[in-house]
Symmetry: C2
Subunit: 417 residues, 2 copies
């Protein structure tokens, strides 16, 4: 295959590719060319401004949607709806497409009746209405939220055919919220307060223990995402934001924060969300999400449809520890690696968008990406992960993903040794 | 009124305020307190993940919507739907709430039939399909788009009661697109190519002349906003992004780019979108949007409902020339100014979010904000603007806005000398 060996696509290499595009386009020009004809939508008035007080996508985008996997769970009230990563670009996930995972369905909370209580080892137990909370100083941060089980099906080999299903338990939005530190200081937390229990107002009463050090560091009690109120499936009207840590700690429909001197060992941190190793022991409290990346295009749900020539490869990379200064890409299953171009804001604990433009000669490809984070950590292969952790777990699989692209442009999820 | 005189709220001032919140909350605790009782949504299962492939806001947020003003235009197909700035926070505008302005309604474009043609003074006239365009390198940028007529009704005095209507012709999203420069270079633009005509595929065939210098600088041909496809009312499937310049140049449903040696003097740059002065002459080609700001809360649509005590004032500031390093706020109509706290990413030609936390003593307020941009430009008063430009224009009013807050917390749009 013919590759672009420059770190950033050179002017000459780019023009060589683009000329082919131009030629293709020019070849197709004819009397019936839509560029020359006056199309129907130029001959009629469209909808007025009174048509959509809250806008929705074009009907032509109906296939861009969250998808669940029916056989994955016993009931849709305790299941997952995956983000269509292959349909997106940039780093912001639109609210309507943010993956959702809940344990008792989407709680229908009335914000006027919702309360947040802080109690336990505090000087002043407090109860806040939503209006009370909006009198505290706010901050705005873009953070990625990844489920600990993202890519979990892949531990035992390539299972799911599409990045929506292998990597779609992640989203990235701008949160507006109150630093949790301010609320805890208001309640008065002394030196004996070492742990915090966060509880949701859903029927599952989702609970997780969080060390006080993290709670006082960068956690937020958030009420907005991407500018507007949290969506119901994301915890409306209030959720905990625990930057860089696994998604189920970001307790939704947040109603209670209890301060204690030790963890609570609840269900979601013992029976679930622990990592069973080969010897029968389990890793616990593996909160931080390791550096990871995935190529979103081309991928099984987004094959190459244009044939050989200039091709844009793109993907996402992230780390629970900081920023992503570098992503490598290989087209041949790891024989040769080249540095991708990262574009858009580089924010800590946020998705990063990378691109690699190349001139595809039409031969089969083995695509992989490898993230480096700001601590120097490098994303491992799945084989390296399995050597240490076995294949019993379903959590914290951040191994390198491989897509095999065939000569016809179709792609599938494969494992290579 | 008791003000917080610190540039950033001090720990002590904050705690004094927060304690009041705590006391208020504690006073309301009782057997019927929702924090103690088990609420209905904790006793039932919610919707499963199969309920909403594309998510929507909570029913409790039904009032958060774009609004039009029926008397403003003759027909809703050529009108405006304003962004509810008072309901939002952070800097990202969710796609469903981005203001819309069109001249012949929302064109219903089929992306498979859509073409972009580049012709005129070029070496190689080109026609691109959407798939062709997606083979070019992409960039991601957050930019604000402001209509030249934003705040236009205010030239002759306070008219509209709410920042949604006075300032709601602005939105701020992350665009993914191709640098326009790359497409023009592909077509081959020589030294005689001084101007570009951009044309939309709506029934109005919206057209604007753009100087080549700007076209080659930072313009994008965008196909995504906030990660997903452009919304129909924002030009689906393709729009021009002209950072920092007035919104009607960001041609939607982009179908044609013609290169020429002089401007075209079309309707939207002669009869409209020019600034009529007192002497009967008009300023033309006033593309760049000057630095501006508005307090979004409190405001007429968002009164203070919690009574005296800790109060969060917040708003937005922006400049077509760069970033906003500083915003000043006054609570007394300009007698005393204090620096607000800017929070969240500070990106060029993007909205900036500011906050000012203060302890309201319940007396009337005259709220104003004043933006400083990275070129040193300072937002003027409306009186200063009128002294130079008269009151004939409806465009480019970036004067300081005043909200009068009464003792009961209600607010209205006023003018002060």
């Amino acid at each position: 295959m013919a590759e672009n060996n420059d770190k950033h696509p050179s002017r000459r290499a780019f023009l060589a590719g683009a000329a082919a595009v131009g030629t293709l386009a020019t070849q197709s020009r004819a009397q019936s060319d839509p560029a020359i004809s006056v199309q129907p939508w130029m001959q009629e008035l469209g909808d007025g401004v009174d048509a959509a007080p809250y806008g929705v996508p074009s009907p032509f985008e109906a296939d861009v949607k969250r998808r669940n996997v029916e056989w994955l769970t016993a009931d849709p009230v305790s299941s997952v709806n995956f983000t269509p990563l292959h349909d997106l670009d940039g780093i912001i996930t639109p609210n309507g497409l943010c993956f959702e995972r809940h344990h008792s369905g989407v709680a229908r909370v009335d914000p006027a009746q919702h309360r947040l209580m802080i109690h336990g080892l505090v000087e002043r137990p407090l109860v806040f209405t939503m209006e009370d909370l909006k009198r505290f100083p706010r901050e705005n941060h873009v953070y990625s939220l990844e489920c600990a089980a993202n890519s979990g099906m892949e531990w035992r080999g390539a299972q799911l055919n599409g990045c929506q299903f292998t990597h779609g338990m992640i989203h990235n939005v701008m949160y507006t919220g109150i630093p949790l530190r301010l609320l805890l200081e208001e309640a008065g937390v002394g030196t004996e307060g070492k742990w915090l229990l966060a509880e949701g107002a859903d029927a599952a009463a989702m609970t997780r223990s969080i060390p006080m050090e993290k709670a006082l560091d960068d956690c937020l009690v958030a009420f907005k995402m991407n500018g507007e109120a949290l969506r119901p499936e994301q915890g409306y009207p209030l959720r905990l934001v625990v930057p860089g840590w696994e998604g189920n700690m970001w307790v939704k429909w947040l109603r209670r924060l209890e301060v204690g001197d030790q963890p609570w060992h609840h269900r979601e941190e013992t029976s679930k969300y622990t990592d069973l190793l080969e010897d029968g022991t389990a890793r616990r409290f593996t909160w931080e999400m390791d550096a990871k990346s995935v190529i979103t295009n081309p991928s099984p749900q987004a094959p190459i449809t244009h044939g050989p020539g200039p091709t844009v490869l793109t993907g996402l990379a992230w780390s629970g520890r900081g920023t992503i200064p570098r992503v490598d890409v290989t087209l041949d299953g790891g024989k040769n690696w080249q540095e991708a171009r990262i574009d858009g804001p580089s924010l800590p604990k946020s998705l990063h968008r990378f691109y690699f433009e190349f001139d595809w000669d039409g031969s089969p490809l083995l695509l992989q990406s490898r993230a480096h984070d700001s601590t120097g950590y490098v994303q491992p292969t799945k084989a390296e992960l399995r050597a240490f952790r076995g294949v019993n777990s379903i959590y914290h699989n951040n191994g390198i993903q491989t897509w095999a692209v065939a000569a016809d442009g179709s792609a599938e999820n494969v494992e290579i040794s």
